[in-house]
Symmetry: C2
Subunit: 195 residues, 2 copies
DNA sequence: CACTAGACCGACCGGTCGGTCTAGTGTGGT
DNA sequence: ACCACACTAGACCGACCGGTCGGTCTAGTG
């Protein structure tokens, strides 16, 4: 009974983890199978679409995970800077505890997604949902409406870039530096009364 | 005489282009060879280190190319915003003319570089050189010294993230949005007298 | 107890991977 | 004329790729 849908879930979680760290092309199905302790045939029972379906669902799962994380951080934050700090703290912990292999669960796949449109679309969808979430939150914090989209996009872009730099450098310094400057930018956009 | 070192150069240029668009794992040596019109033996004559050497040199070449580009843009710019605009304009053109496959020549490889340290180190080196260049330029524009590193890192991170978002979205809007917000951030750091 | 549906299994497929090896080929030095 | 050598060339290798296949096992049903 524990294996009812557990096998499928385990395959997906393992694949998502490996894709996040090694990329889509860089991860073989046999590696996923070995790590999840699942034979080949079982994979194709649960994911008839093969590797591509696995990739799309892994990106969707990663997207949903981060979205939930952002939602709770935003809900619990009194000011934009608090939500920003919370986000950075979590990613910093992920980087450090994984020897700088776990960054954004979407970015690695995203940059390889040229030539496979379903994969690209899944990444796009994830990024859009995060951007929308951030833009809405900025509205709550009384940031002028004409800057919601620009600022939300910039916040996401800066964090994504900082995660990339931090991974390559094996140091969270770029993430911290970016967070400090983002805070300057965001605070300046919040009316003094709402700060 | 045209083929003196031309073959090697052609292999490297082809590989760099394919790595940039499809990633390291996603690009097979046979694809490089076919695109460069070069047989296999020739590749291993010029690159005895195999695919890894090709990857490292491709990243270095991409790093040098962008560094040269930044240098000339910075030298020709009166204010920080001008250099920023020039950079964004070039990347926007690259994205649009390549159907959104040509972004940063380092980023795609960088995110796959976990598990291959020479590759990771080459990416790190490229990013460091760009950051140093930007930080030095900020000094010329009289940005306070204690913000050089943070700002330079943030500018690079934001551009990298924006390029990623633009590729996935197949739209330059994220790049433009990020550029506008970066300009706000940078202009605010330049003393009014120097602006 | 016969039957069925679907989860699960792993041998096997053609193709491609990165990499090696040997056989030319053209050119410059002597 | 000769050789040495940098270079070109592609046949070839074992390993591994993503994917398919026929089949077993088990829980549920009439």
């Amino acid at each position: 009974m524990t294996d009812e849908k557990d096998t499928r879930r385990r395959i997906l979680a393992t694949a998502a983890d490996l894709f996040r760290r090694q990329g889509y092309s860089g991860t073989g199905l046999s590696q996923v199978l070995a790590a999840a302790q699942v034979p080949k045939g079982t994979l194709y029972h649960h994911f008839p679409g093969g590797k591509e379906q696995l990739g799309v669902e892994a990106v969707r799962a990663g997207g949903a995970e981060i979205r939930a994380l952002l939602e709770s951080l935003i809900a619990g934050a009194g000011r934009p800077g608090d939500a920003l700090d919370g986000t950075v703290r979590l990613f910093r912990a992920a980087l450090e505890s994984s020897d700088y292999t776990e960054g954004c669960p979407v970015a690695t796949v995203a940059l390889e997604s040229a030539g496979c449109d379903p994969l690209r679309a899944a990444c796009d969808e994830a990024y859009r949902s995060w951007t929308d979430l951030i833009a809405t939150a900025l509205g709550r914090w009384e940031v002028p409406a004409d800057r919601h989209d620009d600022l939300a996009t910039t916040i996401l872009a800066t964090l994504e870039g900082a995660l990339l730099l931090a991974r390559v450098r094996r140091d969270t310094a770029p993430l911290d530096a970016a967070a400090r400057q983002l805070r300057v930018l965001v605070d300046a956009a919040v009316p003094a009364g709402a700060r």
